[in-house]
């Protein structure tokens, strides 16, 4: 069984098996930076997931803020759709400033 199948087994937010549900952990290392994915923990609810994430992932002041998200709530794009999703942007080089030639004498642009 893949992790996807396993995660989809239960209804939203519902515990089915004997194993505690999985939560993905995100840490903001300091103000001004976005939260970044670091791993996951098992917990029965989001409060204990936060506590576990704090114990497992921040033993050396790695962060000042934590997010935990039930893994089954994450919808991810399929790697097979990578081309379809992201390649159309490839030939649109006119979306980048370097596409345009501006005379040297023009300043501040």
């Amino acid at each position: 069984m893949t992790s996807k199948e396993r995660q989809m087994k239960g209804k939203k937010g519902q515990i089915t098996g004997k194993e505690w549900p999985l939560y993905e952990v995100f840490i903001r290392s300091k103000n001004g930076l976005a939260h970044k994915h670091v791993g996951s923990v098992h917990a029965t609810d989001s409060t204990t997931a936060l506590e576990a994430a704090r114990d497992v992932y921040t033993r050396r002041q790695e962060g000042i803020s934590l997010w935990v998200v039930p893994s089954r709530e994450i919808t991810a794009s399929d790697p097979e759709d990578e081309g379809m999703l992201f390649e159309p942007a490839k030939d649109k080089i006119y979306r980048h400033p370097t596409f345009y030639k501006i005379p040297k004498d023009v300043e501040y642009m």
């Binding site: 992790s3 098992h42 497992v56 790697p79």
Partner: protein
């Protein structure tokens, strides 16, 4: 060389590489060759997935079982400073185990399945943790030699081809360095201490030296999974290369301590620019791996007992959550 206890699964992997020439498999190897990291949802050969599950879960189990020999000394640390340090180190090892279980789960195996495999004996852990910790000097030797060898093994894994594994290894490597340094600091204190302490320090290196060299795994010629793992960049450096590197950096550290490395054949080879060293007793290695080490039973019993003793906590937390959800429905 006898290999009485050697596991027999050496051909299982090669057999399971079916469809090696399929377009997907070719595209996969091309990505690997171009150093493009493989992520959990990407297509991968089943044998790659299985090799990773085996290696990563074994690595996770080693971190977890590895807490036991050192946990044994937390209550008997000689000072509050040493006790705090040892406690922090053992907590780190728990963390390492958890990072690695979490990374392995992305391959589709559940944590309970992995723990089941450890307890049933179908998954292995590093044989080094089946040796006893007899004196406080063993805490020094473990940090210095065992964590030292682990670092040598783990640094190349920060570039392993599977993304979650590589990222977990980066975190782990950042944390390991303190483990080795605190161990060496203990060795300095013991080696420069009373005559009795010096004897303890020497006895520790005598007992831990050879098992530490075995941590790099069998010689390349006898390492069944190595070639494929190197091709897949699961492994980045061969066992013998890492072992030699470890010996070369560690021998001068032993000399600094004024301790003897228990190998009469050890000597610097100017031509090779490496230390030559004596024959490793691989029979012992295979014996310990297959369950006949001094502490195999004790270690597994301790893990199983911890799991069983914790069952009511796991059940109670689940029951409480189910009750809350029922009330909210």
């Amino acid at each position: 060389m006898t290999k009485s206890g050697k596991p027999k699964s050496t051909t299982a992997m090669t057999e399971s590489i079916t469809g090696k020439d399929s377009p997907e498999a070719k595209a996969f190897q091309k990505k690997i060759d171009a150093d493009i990291t493989i992520e959990p949802k990407d297509w991968m050969p089943e044998a790659y997935r299985h090799t990773l599950i085996r290696q990563m879960s074994q690595h996770a189990h080693s971190e977890i079982v590895g807490m036991l020999p050192e946990g044994n000394w937390i209550g008997r640390a000689p000072s509050l400073r040493r006790k705090m340090i040892l406690l922090a180190k053992v907590q780190d090892e728990a963390g390492h185990g958890l990072y690695l279980y979490s990374a392995t789960e992305t391959l589709g195996i559940s944590r309970d399945q992995m723990i089941e495999q450890l307890h049933s004996g179908s998954a292995k852990y590093s044989s080094i943790f089946n040796y006893p910790t007899l004196t406080w000097a063993d805490m020094g030797a473990i940090g210095w030699l065992v964590d030292g060898a682990a670092i040598m093994n783990q640094v190349p894994l920060c570039r392993t081809s599977f993304g979650p594994y590589a990222r977990a290894m980066v975190r782990i490597c950042k944390e390991e360095s303190f483990h080795q340094r605190q161990g060496y600091e203990i060795m300095i204190a013991m080696a420069h201490g009373s005559p009795a302490q010096k004897v303890m320090a020497q006895s520790a290196i005598d007992r831990w030296w050879w098992p530490s060299l075995m941590m790099f795994g069998p010689p390349d010629a006898d390492s069944p999974h190595s070639a494929q793992s190197l091709k897949w960049k699961i492994k980045r450096t061969s066992n013998d290369t890492l072992r030699q590197k470890f010996i070369d950096v560690t021998v001068p550290q032993a000399e600094f301590l004024g301790l003897e490395v228990p190998d009469p054949d050890l000597k610097w080879n100017k031509k090779r620019d490496h230390y030559d060293f004596g024959e490793i007793d691989w029979d012992e290695f295979y014996q310990v791996i297959s369950g006949n080490g001094p502490c195999n039973k004790e270690r597994l019993d301790a893990r199983i007992k911890a799991w069983e003793d914790g069952k009511w906590v796991r059940d109670a937390a689940l029951a409480y959550e189910q009750k809350k959800q029922a009330a909210a429905a």
